[in-house]
């Protein structure tokens, strides 16, 4: 309902670009909902960009995708029960994340199994929506994001969750990197690889829950996987890849919000399209870049 009200407000005022950049920026932050959108979007982009590197390194993109879909059933279930969908989302993503993490290597190559569970939970989500008649907007927001409907309280919760996830990632950084590159070797060196796999999936579950607010369940890839996937094509240094991924996620979110402000189309569309366009451009330009030899200096021998 709230989204609808905002939608009407936006179309009524119909902001347009002027030639004055300062006026444009002032107009962008004129509405409180835009300020909140930028705040939440920034936090989510930082978290998504950071964890995305490990998702790509561990080749667990499908698991990230599965988490968000399974979370959808939890969120809609929570709506039926009359509690905030965020709690349902978090409960389901955490439970499935911990399960996937505990199964660890045994789940590798079990895409079919994950896919079957995933399809069923989406079906559950559809049932829950139908049980709660008249709230299609809730479902729509969960599927495709509702960043323009974020309150100051939501921003505060997102900030706390963001600090926790980034803090947890920093705390497990080295052993997580080690076990992501070579599980067997890390284990021999005394790294608790299974516990770490569970912790990682739990962090991912919280990050997915946060990101759902911005891009929704169906579009989560654009913020978690795409920026990191682009970053690792430019650099093979972990910290540089993480910072690049965060930078790209921020750029997509900010640009998407700005474009959406001046257009009648949804934010999620612009964020996902920007991410997709940059990824395609990077992949297509690869043969050319290789020929010219301008693979970023970041991965060259001079960068020690």
């Amino acid at each position: 309902m709230r989204e609808l009200a905002i939608f009407i407000t936006v179309t009524n005022t119909s902001p347009s670009l002027s030639w004055n950049l300062f006026d444009d920026i002032a107009s962008l932050f004129h509405y409180e909902f835009m300020v909140h959108a930028f705040q939440a979007g920034t936090i989510v982009a930082i978290v998504a960009g950071a964890i995305g590197y490990f998702v790509v390194l561990r080749a667990s993109a499908f698991a990230a995708h599965a988490l968000s879909h399974i979370g959808f059933a939890g969120a809609t279930g929570a709506v039926v029960l009359g509690i905030s969908p965020v709690f349902g989302l978090l409960a389901f993503t955490l439970a499935s994340g911990v399960t996937i993490g505990a199964l660890g290597n045994r789940l590798r190559g079990r895409d079919v199994t994950i896919g079957i569970v995933l399809a069923w939970t989406l079906g559950l989500g559809v049932l829950f929506i139908s049980l709660y008649r008249g709230y299609a907007t809730e479902a729509y927001a969960l599927l495709f994001g509702e960043i323009l409907g974020i309150s100051a309280t939501d921003v505060a919760i997102t900030l706390v969750a963001g600090v926790v996830t980034v803090g947890a990632l920093i705390a497990v950084y080295r052993p997580l990197l080690f076990s992501s590159v070579d599980d067997d070797l890390a284990s021999a060196k005394g790294v608790p690889v299974t516990a770490l796999s569970i912790v990682f999936m739990a962090i991912l579950a919280v990050a997915v829950t946060e990101a759902v607010q911005v891009v929704g369940v169906l579009l989560i890839f654009a913020l978690i996987v795409t920026p990191a996937a682009i970053a690792v094509r430019f650099t093979s240094r972990p910290m540089v890849a993480i910072v690049t991924g965060i930078g790209l996620a921020l750029a997509f979110t900010w640009a998407g919000l700005t474009i959406a402000y001046y257009s009648p189309h949804p934010v999620s569309f612009f964020i996902t399209s920007l991410a997709f366009a940059v990824y395609v451009a990077v992949r297509l330009s690869e043969p050319i870049r290789r020929r010219i030899g301008v693979r970023w200096a970041l991965s060259s021998t001079t960068a020690g």
């Binding site: 080690f178 590159v181 060196k189 093979s236 240094r237």
Partner: protein
Amino acid sequence: MTDPAIIARDLTASYGARAIWSAGTFMIPSGSFTAILGPNGAGKSTLIRMILGQLPPAAGGLEVLGRPPRRGNSDIGYVPQRTVFDPELSIRGRDFVGLAVDGHRWGMRLTGRTKAAADTSASIDAVGARDYADRPLGSLSGGEQQRLLLAQALVGQPRLLLMDEPLSHLDVRNQGAMVQLITDVARERRLTVLLIAHDVNPLLPHIDLVLYVANGRLAIGRPQDIITSQRLTEIYSSPVEVLTDSRGRLFVVGLEEEVSHPHA
């Protein structure tokens, strides 16, 4: 030679109720180079896992460098069995070797950066991998990856080097170079080396001992004593012939079929 590096007495390995091998009694002297041979699934990697402290003995005693085995022992360098790294794996060889320095510690590397970088570089130089250490691991050849795997195993000056099939995915020329490198590094650093292999031939000029894991038992001996038609036929319980060429090198015939049709 000083104290033995590894002592096993009536050692038995099992996964749950399933026994892998039993009554393994052997001694590995310090500074020796031992090849571990045997058919697929006979339990060669199981022995390595036991020495690493990842699998407790089902029965019997095992002493590694004078102590019971324990996980995360920094006196042991380990090269795990693997085919090759994922070609998409985008991490520099240098960062990978660096993980062996402090990858098991929590948090990020805040202090001791200079020392960690120096240790990493020293290990990379020791295996002659400096030219490609800054390229993504996934983009390197099998031989280059194997050298960097050895480099990470050498970090922290270990006394014991355990290698699980480091030669399997290399061509003949690279196998020879790798064995020579392992031998040189081991001699220079007085390392005890245990190396699992499928083909004993590239190792024959360098090894002191051969440890066979076959038929649920372990058998150890000097190559010239154990790699004989009679002993191998006994160990594998199938006909194996050992031939000697004009330069005194041993050639084992019949094992190829054994390897492709494991019965363990």
